[in-house]
């Protein structure tokens, strides 16, 4: 995905920096996870990373809408 210089300087970037974190496969080190998402954001276990089926299952289980971010 393209990176955005300007966007990164906005308040929304602060959101993304945290929002961008994801649930990654077990065993990945934080450095490996950051490498996979190709940026320097902190990894946040609240996010599901590149795994839409898991997001769907969780949304069904918790009766929540999905917020899917492409970046």
């Amino acid at each position: 995905m393209q990176r955005s210089r300007l966007f990164a300087s906005t308040a929304l970037a602060a959101l993304l920096a945290t929002f961008a974190a994801s649930r990654l496969p077990a065993g990945d080190t934080p450095a490996e996870k950051r490498d996979k998402i190709n940026d320097n954001t902190e990894i946040n276990p609240s996010w599901i990373y590149d795994d839409l089926p898991s997001a769907i299952a969780k949304a069904r289980r918790e009766n929540k809408p999905i917020f899917a971010v492409f970046r």
Partner: protein
């Protein structure tokens, strides 16, 4: 969840948050958005019904994002979710399946070979590759490019309104003489729905426009003070064509292997032109134009004897809508004081 700031941390807990980092395996029939974006958000039900979208670029910049509008969109998505599935029919305009999508990008016939093999390193399928795959399929089929594959995801400006970036739904301005002005739209109106579908964002607006036929009447429900009004905005003809699409990463394939730029008055006069004409900004040496002999600084004054447009967008659209790949074209250029013809095949 770590602190998100800007008041989004709490509302974020109401969603299942997922990040998709590349397009491999993504069903583009569901995740249909402006693929030249650097960031795009979807609000969906677990059954993959789209509630709304967020994320818009203008001229390659990110001026159309705001935390406040994103929060507003998230709030509206929660309200839609609460009323779902009774409100599902109203979401149909946000869930139109484009006939040229509906495949995972790696399954598109014209996608680069390396993207088909997940074992090749550095073969991440970027968002903009989706447009490339769609357009290359069209070119491989020797078909001209339709308007909605060139001027993709039209901004609301194309029908005459700008939307307040901080709000995401409030009309900031209405241009005189445009379809929106003729329908009675006013600055300050808040767009509630289009064709019955609730609007969350500029991206939602763009999705409806992208999937509108060239001639249509949009039913736009607005809140004006305490009143709710429905405006009938009639669009027809070349309404999509106001935008410049050359900022888009995906448009590289539309080029002939060179970038062009508009002439200034002095350059136009030096080339012996009163109007039209376009300058070659650069020609990649190993690209079709470079191989044919184009050089930076050449002024293109005619194509097959016809005057050429003075904007790169219009020039590329002309090429892609009037000529097919493999067709031979003759471009007349002025280089210094000399005029010459250069022939090449449309790539």
């Amino acid at each position: 969840m770590a602190r998100l700031g800007d008041g989004l941390d709490e509302i974020g807990k109401e969603f299942v948050l997922t990040r998709i980092i590349q397009m491999r395996g993504v069903d583009t029939a569901v995740f249909n958005f402006d693929f030249d974006l650097s960031w795009a958000g979807f609000f969906l039900n677990a059954d993959l019904t789209v509630y709304g979208r967020y994320g818009t670029r203008r001229d390659g910049g990110d001026s159309q994002y705001s935390t406040s509008a994103l929060k507003e969109a998230m709030t509206k998505a929660l309200a839609i979710h609460k009323a779902y599935p009774a409100n599902r029919p109203s979401l149909a305009p946000k869930n139109i399946k484009a006939s040229n999508l509906g495949k995972m990008p790696e399954q598109m016939p014209a996608i680069e070979v390396q993207f088909r093999n997940p074992d090749i390193p550095r073969n991440c399928i970027h968002c903009h590759h989706v447009w490339k795959g769609v357009r290359r399929s069209r070119m491989a089929d020797k078909k001209p490019m339709p308007d909605n594959l060139l001027w993709v995801y039209p901004m609301p400006d194309t029908i005459g309104v700008t939307i307040d970036v901080a709000d995401g739904a409030k009309i900031a301005s209405v241009a005189a003489g445009t379809p929106a002005a003729k329908a009675g739209a006013q600055a300050g109106d808040v767009v509630l729905s289009i064709n019955g579908a609730p609007m969350f964002s500029i991206a939602d607006f763009q999705f409806v426009l992208q999937n509108s036929p060239d001639q249509a009447t949009l039913k736009v429900e607005v809140q004006r003070g305490t009143e709710t009004k429905v405006l009938s905005i009639a669009i027809s003809g070349d309404w999509r064509k106001a935008a410049d699409f050359t900022w888009r990463t995906s448009c590289g394939d539309l080029r002939l292997g060179m970038q062009m730029e508009s002439l200034n008055d002095g350059e136009r006069k030096a080339a012996g032109l009163r109007a039209g004409g376009i300058k070659v900004k650069n020609a990649w040496p190993k690209g079709p134009a470079g191989m044919a002999g184009f050089q930076a600084g050449d002024v293109i004054v005619a194509l097959n004897g016809q005057p050429v447009p003075d904007k790169e967008t219009d020039f590329l659209a002309w090429i892609r809508q009037k000529f097919l790949p493999g067709q031979k074209i003759k471009l007349t250029v002025v280089r210094g004081a000399k005029k010459q013809d250069i022939s090449m095949d449309v790539p």
